[in-house]
Symmetry: C2
Subunit: 211 residues, 2 copies
């Protein structure tokens, strides 16, 4: 027997709840950052981290994004969890958890920069900042960090089966959800890591976090 | 023995090759669409499809995005394939395939709209447009489709192990790549799909496409 849903209907849910939004931000692998450059919208994928109500983004200090200051920035994250196949094209959808954040770029330096860089590292590999060698002065100079104090945030979550029109239910068309899962595998060590050196704790922590 | 990389170095690769960019667009599950609204950058996740050198986006006809006309729009897609753990925070990275497209929104109607809607459906579930019931007049009215003729496009691909500083190679720190994989599972039928109705062909086609 194929796995199946009950006949309950579920719809999209919008949320402005801080806890829901923070949970989505903390579990996403990559941020999609929007800003305006020369009158055009730009979207680029970026590593990020959240500390309290602040998002930190980092890039090479020469990049456009690392030099944004006092301009509006948007960060969007989306975790796709299913493809929703309905009996009509119209009712097709996807299951997902997404968050959209608006803030104003603020250049970050000194202690806040150190904390932000550790947080960005630890976002993908929890505890990695305690495993690596300290940052050099030149590396610090080559790195730019911006903060977004979260000014407006919203989340959207869709779960469950398709919501078809009542009269379509008897059509002989398979309808349901194709689950989409993202998972982290066993680490592949580089050519300079001796075989006897076991995977760092942060790697297993990442597998647990994004499971 | 843990799996490992050879000692070769690999760097990020930028590409303006149409074939490379189209392949990345065709295999991504969700698009991150940027536009300007009230002087602020907006980024929202969207379903999309490509036909030749045109991207199609659709949404409810009342939404802001479906009503964009003759304004610049950016679409970004990113497939994360690995977390790159280096011996220094600075050299941490991710492996990914991403594409960034710029175009100008153009409202789509009539035959082009029909083709675009089928293409958006078939992007996630190849062949699904031939399995579902035809679209009604009201549904068509409630749907907005915009096209972006691709005016500027670029791709970035990073693969392979971390690129550490030579002098860090002897540090007793595990370095390598944590593979990230996204996969589609067996379809979960909804409560109105009888057990004897086997999964549609488009569902298996999606599993093959996004494997």
């Amino acid at each position: 027997m194929q796995p199946s849903y009950a006949k309950a209907r579920q719809a999209k849910r919008a949320s402005y709840d801080e806890e829901v939004i923070h949970a989505i931000l903390d579990k996403a692998l990559v941020g999609h950052v929007g800003f305006i450059a020369g009158g055009r919208p730009m979207v680029i994928p970026m590593a990020y981290a959240r500390i309290g109500n602040i998002l930190y983004l980092h890039g090479a200090s020469k990049t456009r994004i690392a030099r944004l200051e006092s301009v509006p920035v948007c960060l969007e994250v989306t975790e796709l969890t299913g493809i929703v196949a309905a009996r009509s094209g119209f009712h097709h959808s996807v299951n997902y958890r997404s968050a959209i954040i608006h803030g104003t770029a603020r250049h970050v330096a000194d202690d806040e920069m150190d904390k932000a860089l550790d947080a960005v590292l630890d976002h993908l590999l929890p505890g990695r900042s305690l495993e690596v060698r300290p940052m050099s002065k030149q590396e610090r100079k080559a790195t730019g960090v911006i903060a977004l104090d979260i000014e407006y945030a919203s989340a959207k979550i869709r779960t469950g089966p398709p919501v078809d029109d009542e009269e379509d239910h008897q059509l002989p068309i398979w309808a349901g959800v194709v689950p989409v899962t993202t998972s982290l595998g066993t680490g592949i060590r580089d050519g300079y890591t001796p075989d006897e050196l076991t995977e760092s704790g942060s790697i297993a922590a990442a597998r647990r976090k994004f499971a």
